[in-house]
């Protein structure tokens, strides 16, 4: 291959990597944040409609606090990542930060003051679903986390499969159960 032809191939490679970079950091990354925000907007709308139907008043502290929390997440959705979560948990376990734990306690207190059980359940459910959305957002954004999850799921599947195979063998192999009972009896006699 001539020098110029080799350079052309190298240029092609460089262009391919640059295109991938563009796709990943200019297209996909902002899309993930937009999609996360859209799901949060849907959740906030659901909360609004729940209050609009008269299930809870718009002035209720729990309603206001939950809406404030969703709004906060909407505002800083671009900052939600696995590294930040890990550091927050790590730093808070070394030295608890009241600025991090305070808002959660405030939310729990507001929730406790809701008189109706089904309203409390609904607000808890919306808050829980916000957590699920955050986890999904972090998972799709972290290759390390995605690989770890893949390995974990694979290990879980193998474990369950082995368990099922053992159960199948125990229940179907003729005479095995009887043999096991004999072994148990021998152990008792010894």
């Amino acid at each position: 291959m001539s020098e110029v032809a080799f350079s052309a191939v190298a240029l092609k490679g460089l262009l391919a990597w640059a295109s991938l970079w563009f796709l990943l950091f200019v297209c996909w990354r902002p899309y993930r944040v937009d999609a996360f925000r859209q799901s949060l907007f849907n959740l906030r709308h659901e909360l609004f409609m729940y209050a609009a139907q008269g299930e809870i008043t718009f002035d209720d502290k729990a309603y206001r606090e939950l809406r404030r929390r969703i709004n906060g997440m909407l505002r800083f959705a671009h900052r939600v990542n696995f590294l930040r979560l890990s550091f927050s948990v790590l730093l808070n376990s070394i030295s608890p930060n009241p600025l991090l734990t305070g808002p959660s306690e405030k939310w729990r207190k507001c929730l406790q003051n809701v008189p109706s059980g089904h309203v409390r359940d609904k607000l808890t459910n919306i808050h829980y679903r916000m957590g699920v959305l955050m986890v999904r957002h972090m998972l799709t954004g972290s290759l390390t986390l995605l690989l770890s999850l893949g390995i974990y799921v694979l290990a879980l599947m193998i474990r369950r499969s082995v368990q099922r195979i053992l159960e199948f063998i125990t229940s179907t192999v003729p005479g095995l159960l009887h043999g096991l009972e004999l072994l148990e009896s021998e152990a008792l006699e010894c």
Partner: protein, 127 residues
């Protein structure tokens, strides 16, 4: 909590924030450095030996029609995606104001996400 404690905890939060945002900015830049590092040897070995025009002509000469269609498809797809994103953001900008007005009729103390009208991060919140 005393003011000193509050300052200390706020400082810690800022550090956490700084680490998080540095990480977010570091990854794309690290990827650029990695791409150039991987192609560095080729660029250095060819420095002064052949002109960019030579390489460009050879590159274009090697592009087959089928390759060209693939490039066009990729570029078109990305362009289409970006145009759709702009369109969606413009629609959000138009509709969000109306939603806000309607919601405020029921909930005058309605709190906001403080995003831009187009639903994007405010410049002062980036970082």
């Amino acid at each position: 909590m005393s003011k000193q404690d509050e300052r200390k905890h706020t400082f810690r939060l800022r550090i956490l924030d700084l680490i998080g945002s540095m990480w977010s900015h570091l990854i794309p830049w690290a990827a650029i450095v990695l791409i150039f590092w991987a192609t560095r040897d080729i660029i250095v070995s060819l420095a002064g030996k052949s002109t960019l025009a030579d390489i460009g002509v050879k590159f274009l000469a090697n592009v087959k029609i089928s390759d060209g269609v693939i490039y066009l498809f990729g570029l078109g797809g990305v362009g289409y995606g970006l145009a759709e994103r702009q369109l969606r953001r413009r629609s959000v900008g138009t509709m969000s104001e109306r939603t806000k007005q309607l919601e405020q009729q029921l909930d005058p103390k309605r709190s906001s996400s403080k995003l831009t009208k187009r639903g994007t991060t405010r410049p002062e919140d980036r970082g």
